[in-house]
């Protein structure tokens, strides 16, 4: 166990990690385990779970009904993240689909694993070869099989429950079983699958980083149905679990530390990063290996902001691809009342998903989809609808109950392709409280996604018919899903990509940018497990380089 050296507020360590979320924390754990001294800096504060739970309980119903998962989390005045109730306009969105990129993410120790649903999907093998298979998007420079052992390790690190039955796995190509069998299906999942599966919709259990038995200091999930915005009992994986572990290994974790500058030497190796502390004093961290793990928006944001004389377009940006190819699963919802009670809303918020159209020859023409049976209790929308009907007393109660029991909400994810025009840039006019440029994002979803939307709508209308749906509705605006990908894209050619297959920057031999940013294809599944797998792959490559030097 080697500790970083602190002097006059500056730090010297073997490894300097910016961002204390799932990616940074896992890398810190691996490298501290290797005996390296590690310092982690996070722009935001440490979070008190009980406080956040109480904040959620005290939020106005309008915010809760609108899924405000941001407002209950404390923010550092120097590290804003997007807020929507009311909007803080930290990120200026533009382009025809700009509003479809209104993201939720948390800048705090633990990162956005504070309010995720813990879905731990793998990409399909074919998702790594979109260009060669379907002639669209990009191929990864690594294959599914290259990443597969890291997927296993990431699942083991996070304590994932997933189906042991290969028929229920998506994909089923895996070298080790899930650490625990799937979270058992409730009545809603079982009944829904029974009705739709004969038509090829293929309901599968969502692999998720929680268990129905105690695991590694975590209690069993008891179905608070509150994963987003916060698991009130800590049954769900949160990067703070790794933070706890690494601090016990001697890793120095500095909260409220906003990194803004990156120094490079004549060989373009990174020599130091600079940060502002909570009192706006500036400090410096020197090291041998540097990792920027701030995910798909804040990593490219920092790289562009940190442009220096040798790297005038931004750090790691000789390809001009930093901040381009921004992706997220474009989402929409389908709601209806079934002709039988299905009782969604018991157990964790996401338990099963239709993956029948996750892949197929059609992907050369239009986007695949996944359809999550959204398992968040329908109590709030049911109440709003029943109140709108003008009911009161027992009739109101009965109607709420009926709507909760019969209500269905399907959350659909579509797959955008990497497009260099979808781009994060630095605002020329807007600055944050430290005077640092805020991000601007231009976003336009092409016909690939819109045609995918149309195809999914046909499928949803068919599903609706299977349940003799009433009040059948499909949202028309595409919503964001907070799966930030593409901004520091991975490739084998330094001319058109930012990092290599180990997430190492082409431009800087000792800088790694793991997370969602490197992912060259988005698939239709949540990105966290892929981010964690890439983190572990990076950690291995960093460890072997540090061992040699």
């Amino acid at each position: 166990m080697k500790a970083p050296v602190l002097a006059d507020g500056d730090v010297a360590a073997d490894v300097v990690i910016v961002g204390a979320g799932v990616v940074g924390a896992m890398i810190a754990d691996q490298l501290a385990g290797e005996g390296q001294s590690v310092v982690m800096l996070d722009s935001g504060p440490r979070i008190d779970r009980g406080q956040v739970v109480e904040n959620w309980r005290n939020m106005p119903i309008k915010s809760r009904a609108g899924s405000d998962y941001q407002g209950l989390y404390p923010q550092s005045p120097f590290a804003p993240a997007p807020l929507y109730f009311p909007p803080n306009n930290y990120i200026a969105l533009s382009g025809p689909d700009g509003q479809s990129y209104a993201q939720d993410y948390i800048r705090a120790v633990g990162g956005t694993t504070w309010h995720w649903a813990a879905s731990c999907w793998r990409h399909l093998p074919v998702d790594f070869r979109m260009k060669s298979t379907y002639g669209v998007g990009r191929d990864w420079p690594i294959s599914y099989d290259d990443l597969e052992p890291y997927y296993c390790r990431a699942e083991e690190e996070m304590g994932v429950s997933g189906p042991h039955d290969a028929v229920l796995q998506s994909p089923s190509r895996r070298s080790r079983p899930y650490p625990s069998d799937m979270v058992p299906w409730g009545y809603s999942d079982t009944r829904f699958a029974e009705v739709v599966d004969p038509f090829g919709y293929n309901c599968v259990p969502i692999p998720q980083a929680r268990m129905v038995q105690p695991w590694n200091g975590r209690p069993a999930c008891c179905g608070n149905n509150n994963c987003m915005p916060v698991c009130p009992i800590g049954a769900m994986y949160n990067a703070v679990h790794h933070i706890q572990r690494v601090e016990a290994k001697g890793v120095l974790v500095l909260a409220d530390s906003v990194v803004y500058r990156i120094d490079t030497d004549a060989n373009n190796r990174v020599t130091a990063i600079h940060w502002y502390d909570a009192d706006r004093r500036t400090h410096k961290a020197t090291g041998r290996a540097f990792i920027i793990a701030c995910n798909g928006i804040e990593t490219p944001h920092l790289l562009l902001m940190a442009a220096n004389q040798m790297n005038p377009a931004g750090i790691a940006n000789s390809s001009d691809q930093v901040g381009r190819n921004m992706m997220d699963h474009s989402g929409f919802h389908c709601t209806f009342l079934a002709d039988e009670p299905l009782w969604f809303g018991r157990g964790p918020e996401q338990t099963s998903c239709m993956v029948g159209f996750r892949d197929g020859a059609f992907r050369s023409e239009y986007s695949a989809n996944k359809m999550i049976l959204y398992n968040i209790t329908r109590a709030i929308p049911a109440t709003q609808q029943a109140l709108k009907m003008g009911l009161a007393g027992q009739a109101l109660d009965d109607e709420i109950r009926r709507r909760v029991a019969f209500g269905v909400d399907i959350s659909i994810s579509l797959e955008p392709l990497p497009d260099p025009n979808n781009r994060l840039t630095l605002s020329k006019t807007r600055r944050d409280a430290l005077g640092l440029a805020c991000p601007d994002i231009y976003y336009e979803l092409g016909p690939y996604v819109h045609k995918g939307y149309d195809a999914a709508c046909d499928q949803l209308r068919h599903i609706g018919k299977l349940f003799n749906a009433t009040e059948f509705d499909i949202t028309t605006k595409l919503n964001a899903n907070n799966h930030l990908m593409g901004g520091t894209i991975m490739g084998s050619d330094p001319k058109d990509s930012v990092v290599d297959g180990n997430c190492r920057a082409h431009d800087h031999a000792n800088l790694w940018l793991p997370g969602g940013g490197p992912m060259p294809s988005s698939s239709v599944v949540n990105s966290t497990l892929s981010m964690a797998a890439l983190a572990l792959k990076s950690a291995d490559s960093i460890a072997s380089i540090l061992r040699k030097s």
Binding site: D48, G50, Q51, E54, P219, A220
Partner: protein, 443 residues
């Protein structure tokens, strides 16, 4: 925590430890090849295995941090210093492989090793002294024949002067060791006598539940009146209806021993959770029945200030309305009520009722919150609960600085404790910040 000596005694049971009895049973099948010197009848070995489980040898002699069964090396906290348990596998080099049955019996009953050195009374030989010859024989057969030998020596115990002088134990034993087998009381039933034997000798319940004097010997005049097992407290289990368990039904006592929980009265935590998980749950029903029969007759000891049974305090109460509709801001929760709501109420419910099936237990009418001291309340919050009985694992996360859920400060835990005591438990008990700090440090 696991590294701090005082906490060592009450390590969280690891799930693999439950496998020990099963693994040991497997070994019985090919025991001849393990240790072929003497072949004991399978029935004797099986009985020895049962007795080893009832005696909970594994609690001390298996290191919970990945230790091999009975290889020792586990640091047991004592007020005098850390006492390391020895290797009791049949290894000739490092364990008791070279012991004769006579030497084995002397170690068990008199605290004297084969080489003549004295054991410290962390080894409950003052209880085991009551074991019958038959049982010692069966235990010997089990350890020699069914346990896999481990050739690794356990670390030596180094206590400070004068306790490092092991011959001082001679004097101690002269005062405190009554070297005699259990003698049946003919005026009592066979069941009672069996219970007395199991409680006083085999399960050595007094090791925790009987207070100790300054020389760490059990105070015989106050048998089973409760004692500190820091940072926990082993409660009074005499038949007193107020201070002891006189208000428990026979069935409740049996159920508690078997499962570690009687709703709503009490849930086993700390060392008792281990005793249930590792030992008591495996006892034959007739032995559990016998234990309860005996416990019900232990002379009552009343604590002077007690006026109500610990399970007789409190009722449902909540302050939910007062907590809602206010802006709690982004600082830290301040009041005990708010801290309880944010950290505890998701499971124990706002009114302290627990959940309907009592997976998460009620906090009123509960011996932990109604006790005349708060050790077990504080320690439960700090260290959580991990109990494994009847195929069901009961887990409450810890809230100390090793918590994955939320590390709470001494101040926060004291505020939560006081809120719980005032609202659901014994309102006369107060928890100071220093009390929590002491329990956090294992004191």
């Amino acid at each position: 925590m696991a590294d701090s000596p005082a906490a060592g005694r009450f390590r969280p049971p690891r799930s693999w430890r439950r496998l020990i009895p099963a693994a040991a049973l497997c070994l019985v099948g090919f025991s001849g090849s393990v240790h072929a010197a003497t072949i004991y009848p399978a029935e004797t070995v099986r009985r020895g295995h049962y007795l080893a489980m009832a005696g909970d040898c594994t609690a001390c002699h298996t290191n919970p941090k990945g230790g091999t069964p009975f290889a020792g090396g586990y640091g047991i906290a004592s007020p005098l210093g850390v006492i390391y348990s020895t290797n009791i596998t049949p290894s000739r080099k490092a364990g008791i492989g070279g012991y004769t049955e006579y030497q084995f019996a002397r170690a068990l009953r008199e605290g004297v090793r084969a080489d003549g050195t004295h054991l410290y009374p962390a080894m409950p030989y003052t209880a085991y002294t009551g074991l019958s010859d038959d049982d010692v024989h069966a235990l010997f057969a089990y350890f020699q024949q069914a346990v896999a030998p481990v050739d690794i020596l356990a670390p030596k115990t180094h206590l400070p002067f004068p306790f490092n002088l092991r011959f001082s134990m001679v004097l101690w034993n002269a005062f405190f060791l009554k070297n005699a087998r259990y003698e049946a009381d003919p005026s009592r039933s066979a069941v009672w006598n069996r219970g007395a034997y199991v409680v006083t000798a085999l399960e050595h319940c007094g090791a925790c539940h009987t207070p100790r004097n300054l020389l760490m010997a059990e105070k015989t005049g106050r048998a089973f009146a409760g004692g500190p097992v820091e940072p926990w407290y082993a409660p009074n289990i005499t038949s007193d209806p107020i201070s002891g368990i006189g208000g428990w039904s026979h069935r409740e006592i049996v159920q508690y021993l078997k499962t570690g929980a009687v709703s709503p009265k009490s849930q086993a935590a700390g060392g008792m959770a281990e005793a249930v998980s590792d030992s008591l749950q495996y006892l034959h029903p007739e032995d559990l029945d016998a234990i309860a029969t005996y416990l019900e007759t232990i002379p009552p000891v009343r604590a002077g200030t007690d006026t109500r049974a610990a399970f007789d305090f409190g009722g449902p109460a909540e302050f939910e309305a007062a907590l809602r509709g206010v802006d709690t801001g982004q600082g830290s929760l301040a009041s005990g009520a708010a801290l309880y709501s944010g950290n505890c109420a998701s499971c124990h419910q706002p009114a302290g009722t627990g959940t309907s099936g009592q997976t998460f237990p009620v906090l009123f009418h509960n011996t932990v919150t109604g006790a005349n001291r708060a050790d077990n309340l504080i320690s439960t919050i700090l260290y959580g609960i991990d109990r494994d009985a009847g195929g069901r694992r009961v887990f409450m996360p810890r809230f100390d600085d090793k918590s994955y859920i939320q590390p709470l400060t001494d101040k926060q835990i004291s505020a939560i404790s006081n809120y719980v005591l005032q609202t659901f438990g014994n309102p006369k008990v107060q928890v100071s910040i220093a009390d929590v700090a002491a329990a956090r440090n294992g004191r």
